[in-house]
């Protein structure tokens, strides 16, 4: 039986696990969540938070208590999307499986593509799906226990005549 671990956060950088929420958005400073958002204490006392980057605009979002899925719908008016996504860090006493869903469309012109990637803080690929016109699927990845914040980047990249139906959803209840 693993021991409980001291919580870090509420925000963290790669080099500092104990940060307050920054006064202005920084993609390098992410909220730290418990891997499992299943209980009342966590939902009410330490809400699940994540960072969203869309078309260069960043913001921190707080998940309402009771929601079992966090997500965001990304928009693109240019037919180009790069690095938009959901970003957060987690702590976990034991390894666990993170699940969720994604979708995106990039039109049908030649050379168009749309890609969904999950990377960790060391830019190692944990999951990837890409297609010329459209991607739509579910992901399920095993993540390690982490006494210090483990950074996750769920990103969309695409180019085409248009970018549409771009959504990323993460299941919060393990």
């Amino acid at each position: 039986m693993p021991n409980a671990i001291l919580r870090a956060g509420p925000f963290a950088t790669r080099s500092d696990p104990f940060r307050n929420e920054p006064t202005s958005f920084s993609i390098n400073t992410l909220p730290v969540n418990c891997a499992n958002f299943a209980n009342y204490y966590g939902a009410t006392n330490w809400p699940w938070k994540f960072a969203v980057l869309n078309q260069g605009e960043g913001q921190y979002l707080t998940q309402p208590a009771g929601d079992e899925q966090a997500g965001f719908s990304f928009s693109s008016s240019t037919g180009f999307i790069e690095g938009d996504g959901i970003f957060f860090a987690y702590q976990a006493a034991t390894s666990f499986t993170l699940t969720g869903a994604y979708e995106g469309a990039a039109g049908s012109q030649q050379g168009s593509f749309i890609t969904f990637d999950i990377l960790n803080g060391d830019d190692q690929s944990l999951f990837s799906d890409t297609d010329n016109e459209r991607i739509d699927g579910n992901f399920s990845i095993t993540l390690p226990a982490a006494t210090v914040p483990y950074f996750l980047y769920l990103k969309l990249t695409g180019e085409g005549s248009f970018i549409a139906d771009t959504n990323i959803n993460v299941d919060l209840i393990i």
Binding site: M1, A4, C34, N39, G42, N45
Partner: protein, 141 residues
């Protein structure tokens, strides 16, 4: 020359004064060790009283002065005082292991004494959900 009844009254008066002094010193003591020292000072056997005198033992100093003055019959001394029915302020310690509660709640360093503080830390539990860990202890050292 004092009469016998005057001697008895004087002796009673002296005993009351001694009791008051002892009581005052005990009330001003801030630790159990200090209280033990005061009690020991007022209850030393006569054979060991030299050490107390050299340290300015108030009882002995008083007895010496009284003896020198010739006011009292010094054969009636502290032993009769402690053989009297005057109760001590606190039960005498049967051994040094008996500890008295101090003002600060300490018990001579014993593990069971002292005031406690409660610390609550946020943790990630073994099921990866948020929780708290509560600690009770004497504080952060």
């Amino acid at each position: 020359m004092l009469s016998e009844s005057e001697k008895i009254r004087a002796e009673r008066k002296r005993q009351r004064e001694l009791k008051d002094i002892r009581k005052k010193e005990l009330s001003e003591a801030t630790s159990s060790s200090e209280r033990r020292q005061i009690k020991a000072k007022y209850s030393e056997p006569r054979a060991n009283s030299n050490e107390g005198r050299s340290e300015g033992n108030s009882y002995d100093s008083m007895s010496q002065r009284e003896a020198a003055s010739g006011l009292y019959d010094t054969t009636v001394g502290r032993d009769s005082f402690y053989d009297s029915d005057i109760e001590p302020l606190a039960p005498e310690s049967p051994s040094e292991q008996v500890l008295y509660p101090d003002v600060d709640g300490g018990a001579g360093g014993g593990a069971g004494g002292g005031s406690t503080n409660t610390f609550v830390l946020d943790v990630v539990k073994d099921d990866n959900t948020a929780g708290t860990a509560t600690f009770n202890g004497p504080g952060i050292n």
